[in-house]
Symmetry: C2
Subunit: 385 residues, 2 copies
């Protein structure tokens, strides 16, 4: 039976990375849309905004002044969700067994960084060339390295690093507490909760393993054990590189594809083709490959509906500290979760059924990949200039 | 140590219903907000809109004409996400073991209903009195009953039912296929993907158990086995009714509370106080109690920021068909997931960190419950009239 049958019947697809399912209803895009429209995004920002707390030379909330940085700039979030120092949590009511079972909590310490991608207020990753994205990949690698457990097998391959003095506001000499996990991510566009258009991402490190990377790690280890040491995502990259129907872009080191189990309409996964446990496993050429893959994905996104395409992006890789098995089972990959479905202003809402029962998507990942493959080439905004 | 310490330190709380964790950062509401604002919702809708496909007497997409219904009206969605009839899914590539493991899918059949809550285009649950909500509870019960497996222990308690002829467009005589699970839900407000303000909810039935009810069912059965037959949610209701700090409203049969593990800022769970497996377990008085709890929650929501408060709501209860253990472990409860955080126009975005790592909330559930307790009384709009 040809794969095409999947364009016509409702089905569920299995996500082996999360051990979860999603519902696919390909015929459903035919329904008319009378609901919310996103505001078309403003594309006329100034290169420098005196009121932006991320622009070079400006003052931030707590009084610090940003340096006149030239590519990236890292500082500790003035409104961090987790802090390095706080009172210990002790649970109340140890006497009641119901409370112990049903009102469980644990303290979390950590650190939240903000990382600007460019000094220009009005650029986005889609506007940057691979060689302009490379410094961001390098900065991510440095932050990761600076928090890596000295006991991790990854510490041997990591280049010793201090964040360059002009690129952060914290002294690199301050020894970091040993945290367990680092989540690097970007919220782009107000539709994805971004509160400042200046191009930037965030990095949160925490004492515990958060839910999503924890789920993935469990699944990756299970596969490794059951498949005699094979890596699930390396196998997946091999499979998709052969099949091609979900591939959006490919270079020597990375694949960008709409995963079989994609939830968001134009969800993309950027995947190292060979087994890479974390950013520190990449050589210079592979880092360039990653920068190029990011440039290709974000430019195609903007070209798709000729708009500043909103998304949340995150990097999953080995925990900062973990067992040898956990580190070896990890595989570097990036998730892009963009909400738009039909146009620059009509998004897919993951709401009622999705929240209460199961994620549901309307177009198939194969249809999404075909459309993103077609959006290659120059950024639409450049052509209009 | 007093519970108050949780207002000041970052911590994770455990959700025993899903076996998952969420990050709580109570100090984080202090940050300024420069991001997206929701459009303030229009409150000047007409009572009848000739272009609305849900108003009595109007024509729908596929040409059917709505009857002049007086309270609720049920019909099969003109753009259903799942269908009763479709080709069988057969997986491709059975020969490749990588494909078999990594490209898994299964067909899903089912049925999607739309259910209007009132003939008036401009009313919402918050505007309705408990006695006006009672017919909705009765209709939900009837739809559930009409799909219940004759083999279920619940079939013995259910009142034999046909949906009254004026309240649906499908013949009640058509025998239903035996589906496994029914998800009743409502998306309210354009911020939650609702494409038509006419008060309505949806009901999707499917051949498989969707992810969320599946997770809950696993956890409920585990608790039941480990706790000698006790029900997790009945125990939880008892515990919260004693503690009071997370309770928003309580009557003889139902509790409305902000659960210990709430993700959304003003998330509410409506919980039967005694063990009820499904809607069919409620007697008339208990159904009135549920209608009252729904009225209390939705009115307080609107009063909180003096706006039409958006949310997704869903009912979790026993599967339509299942083992005796699954049916007995089930416990009727409603989830309300509302996105607003600070005002009628500023929502909480569950984006980057939340999607990539772990859900994160800013105010504690105890703070949210205290604010919702304070919002009792007449609907703010009535006072303005
Ligand atoms: O069916 P509706 O109300 O048009 O659509 C809404 O609810 C559905 C079920 O939660 C979602 O899949 C859609 O994204 C949402 O817009
Ligand atoms: O920290 P920001 O960018 O102000 O905030 C944004 O990202 C955070 C992390 O995903 C979310 O918790 C917030 O809801 C969102 O608005």
């Amino acid at each position: 039976m040809p794969d095409a049958i999947l364009d016509d019947i409702s089905h569920r697809r299995y996500n082996p990375l999360r051990d979860s399912w999603i519902l696919v209803s390909p015929h459903r895009t035919k329904r008319p849309w009378q609901g919310a429209q996103e505001a078309a995004s403003k594309t006329t920002l100034p290169q420098y905004d005196p009121s932006c707390y991320l622009c070079p030379g400006n003052k931030r909330a707590q009084g610090d002044v940003n340096p006149n940085y030239e590519s990236t700039f890292v500082f500790v979030n003035d409104y961090s969700a987790v802090k390095e120092e706080q009172a210990d949590y002790e649970s109340v009511d140890r006497d009641s067994s119901l409370s112990t079972m049903l009102l469980r909590a644990e303290g979390v310490k950590g650190k939240c960084y903000v990382l600007t991608f460019s000094p220009s207020h009005n650029l986005t990753l889609a506007d940057l060339s691979p060689s302009q994205i490379l410094p961001i990949v390098n900065t991510w690698t440095k932050i990761y390295t600076s928090h890596l457990s000295p006991k991790s097998p990854l510490a041997q391959v990591a280049q010793p690093t201090t964040l360059a003095p002009h690129s952060h506001s914290e002294s690199p000499a301050t020894p970091n507490a040993q945290y367990r996990y680092m989540q690097i991510f970007e919220n782009k566009g107000s539709a994805m909760g971004c509160s400042n258009p200046h191009p930037h991402g965030q990095v949160w490190v925490t004492t515990g393993t958060p839910e999503e990377p924890g789920l993935e790690l469990t699944q990756l280890q299970k596969y490794r054990r059951e498949q005699g040491g094979a890596n699930m995502l390396e196998d997946y990259a091999t499979l998709e590189a052969t099949k091609k129907e979900r591939v959006v872009f490919e270079n020597g080191s990375f694949l960008a594809l709409c995963p079989w189990w994609a939830t968001w309409p134009f969800e993309v996964m950027v995947l190292a083709k060979e087994h890479k446990r974390a950013l520190v496993d990449l050589n210079d050429k592979e880092k360039q490959g990653l920068a190029e893959a990011i440039a290709e994905v974000t430019r195609r996104y903007d070209n798709l509906f000729e708009t500043q395409f909103p998304y949340s992006m995150g990097i999953h890789q080995a925990p900062l500290e973990g067992t040898k098995e956990e580190i070896e089972a990890s595989h570097l990959h990036l998730h892009f979760y963009p909400p738009l479905l039909r146009s620059a202003t009509v998004r897919k809402f993951l709401v009622g059924y999705e929240l209460m029962a199961e994620p549901q998507r309307d177009i198939t990942p194969e249809q999404a990949a075909a459309r993103l493959r077609d959006c290659w080439g120059e950024l639409y905004r450049k052509k209009l200039e």
